[in-house]
Symmetry: D2
Subunit: 133 residues, 4 copies
Amino acid sequence: MSVREILEVHPQPSSLDREALLRCVETCFDCAATCVSCADASLGEKDVQELIRCIRLSLDCADACEATGRIVARQTAVDLLVVGAMIEACAVACRVCREECERHAAHHQHCALTAAICLRCEQACDDLLAAIG
Amino acid sequence: MSVREILEVHPQPSSLDREALLRCVETCFDCAATCVSCADASLGEKDVQELIRCIRLSLDCADACEATGRIVARQTAVDLLVVGAMIEACAVACRVCREECERHAAHHQHCALTAAICLRCEQACDDLLAAIG
Amino acid sequence: MSVREILEVHPQPSSLDREALLRCVETCFDCAATCVSCADASLGEKDVQELIRCIRLSLDCADACEATGRIVARQTAVDLLVVGAMIEACAVACRVCREECERHAAHHQHCALTAAICLRCEQACDDLLAAIG
Amino acid sequence: MSVREILEVHPQPSSLDREALLRCVETCFDCAATCVSCADASLGEKDVQELIRCIRLSLDCADACEATGRIVARQTAVDLLVVGAMIEACAVACRVCREECERHAAHHQHCALTAAICLRCEQACDDLLAAIG
């Protein structure tokens, strides 16, 4: 993604661990797009009635990841309280969405794929949170 | 806002306190729009150089409020862990943005207005968080 | 909404008709929140299978309105080509969503409410488009 | 990005050209993240006063691309009028943002990078528009 290249030439890079930050930004945006798409795929399934909670949590996860990706990507005048609170909330949204997706992973490949990216995003948020200290 | 009327006829209202929920949803969306507008007004000020942190925090607050408004508005198959984590993060984004806006409130009326709605949104998030328990 | 007050004290108000602009911004944000909520209410209905297209179009309309509300709210260094193209697309998203909601309005009050706000938003976009010329 | 894999296992793929669709979705989300980041990098530059229009157009482009990426990614019950109108608006936002970024490309590498992804996104939107017919 091009955002990585922008962050590498940013005039005011934050003091946060560069690699942890980049991985968090990239997985947040990737997870947001994936969750939008998984909610839509679930909406197109014959057993949509079984997937109501999965759709709802994917929509939540998409919104949380998108906002978090935008906030973490910003380097100018970073406020660590805001960044920390958002990545903590994002990790929760990813975990809860992943757990529900895993329940449908055997029947729906898109849920298996979404569970995998949610796990990566949760870990990237946790890693950045640890780097903030 | 029409969203209040939708929530009043929702087929699966969550168990959350109705009035606290509605106030949180409405102030989140109002605060998001206001912060988008305040960041833009600050960008148009002659002393923009003094307002860099204010712009950045308004952009963060807009994104946090928008995501939180969407997540809290959803009633079907609510997950209280996700809702709780998001309103907690949103309250932090509102508080930090408000504190910065207050520093510019004497010189820029849009910052004074934004500080006021951020305070309302922070309180609405705190109230809903208390209602979740 | 507070965004109206911000726009009234903006340091660089655009040359666009003030009242048409405010109505467009306010209805876009209102319609976005309403569509998020209507998609969620439909997802909670027993006849969700009949509401798939309605949910999908409400999600689209929410995203189009939110982006358009943000773009139209910005007054600093307005580009009328961008504003015009977005409000034109937003009007289409509102019209198509409204037509689908109207088909379910007799059975679901939230669809009737959403059809009404979509109509107001479509008209507000058309009015601003006419004001741009 | 994982969204490509989801789209490949979607239960109701739209009739749109698969490769044109995937490229449009991926570049929209990539361009959105990049524009968020470029606006922030510009906000951190010493010559921010010269970059006001660039920041504003990057914020617009980010919002247009994000909404368009979400709408185009959805395959269930596609409405081509909505998709067509949004990718047309997105192409305009990308073109206008790119032209402004190009004016600053010699002095700011992040503007050069953003101009390049805006061009790719504009072309991906145009290609999908041509595929819709």
